[in-house]
Amino acid sequence: MRLKIILTLTLIAGLILAWNLRRIFLQVPDEANQGAIFRIIYFHVPAAITSFTGFYIGMFSAVGYLIKKDLRLDSIAASINEVSLAFASITLVTGSIWGRIIWGIWWTWDPRLTSYFVCLLIYFGYFMLRRAIEDPNARARLSAVLSIFACVDIVLVWKSIEWFRTQHPGPVLEIRGGGGMAPGMEAPLWWNFLALVMLAAALILIRTRQEAMKLEIDALRRHAHAF
């Protein structure tokens, strides 16, 4: 059943991405000021939203573990955070490529970029902590607490665009009060978002299964050592 869901999600995500890529590269016109490079937004923004959403869902799953003490919830939290970390890395890389073309630099210590980088480092720490703890219950407990702390930090990231004067372009999407994108140009972005979310869901399902197997193997190993 799980395999069927993963295959279906991946297939639909692949089809949407293929169809959308055709629209993005052949139908959507170049942006008036930025030219062709603006198309990177179709990957940058969906990846950013997916990663942020993922970190929060990961936190809720971690809170679920703290309430129910079910290790499966910890596995789900770790899988979601891992996939979100991958999407966060995609966001930083695509943003950096865009910055090289538009700003002329690969990286600038703009508060928004810095905060995003900070988030990335926090989640690297999250996985370092998980690796350092062998007992599954202690690992789940401590990483759940770290996940909650990390998500509070993400709030600072979100708010930083309002708190600091920033080089980062202002919101362009209508839902964030931007309204700076023509409807024909905005629609592919949401389709890409849907495809990336489905891809993320498939990856999370694969990782959750691997985590469950790892728990089983660890339990068997401990059982074997007991004799």
Partner: protein
Amino acid sequence: MKFLRQTLAIAAKDLRSEIRGKEAVNASVSFALVILLLFSFAFDLEPEQIRDIAGGLLWLIFAFAGTLILNRSFARELVNDCLDALLASPVSGAQLFFGKCLANYVLIIIVECVSLPVFAIFYDVRLPQRLALLFLVMLLGTWGITVIGTMFSAMTVNLRLRELMLPTLIYPMLIPALIGAIQLSRVLITGGPLAENFIWFRILVAFNVIFTILALALVEIVLVG
């Protein structure tokens, strides 16, 4: 009232232990002096330029030196299973945490009070006329470092690589507080307008309040399970 009394008992125990051994404070002050020395090789700046970056340098010293105290906070309880005894005593996790926070706070402030005038003498930075405000910034920024540091010290206490894990985990977490403290210190040292930078005070206070509440709420889970 009982909460406060037991918290203060934990803080007094930690401070007494530190006053007798002086291991963390001595190491921390020495480390702060070493960083001050290293900065002199890293930068060869005019006095004007030094004043501009003084806020940043100061808080780097405070954060690095503070970590040595925070690292010892829970680790010193591992000898003779003292941590287990403390957890078994009629003191809640929150009290234990808050007591250790207070002790660490006092110790880090002592290190800062020693390194600030040394920094001013070595780098010819005239301390601002608004010294009380700079001290207020130090109090606020240091509380942020202490709360996050003590919480993560509790989280990493049983790890083999705790000395490496603690700085890796806390520095990214501390960035909002450090940025706020650095900006305010820079404004105070250079004599810039404070009203425009009031947002940093709010960020510092918000950071401290949010993470103090979170840590108090979650520390029981970290220590006991």
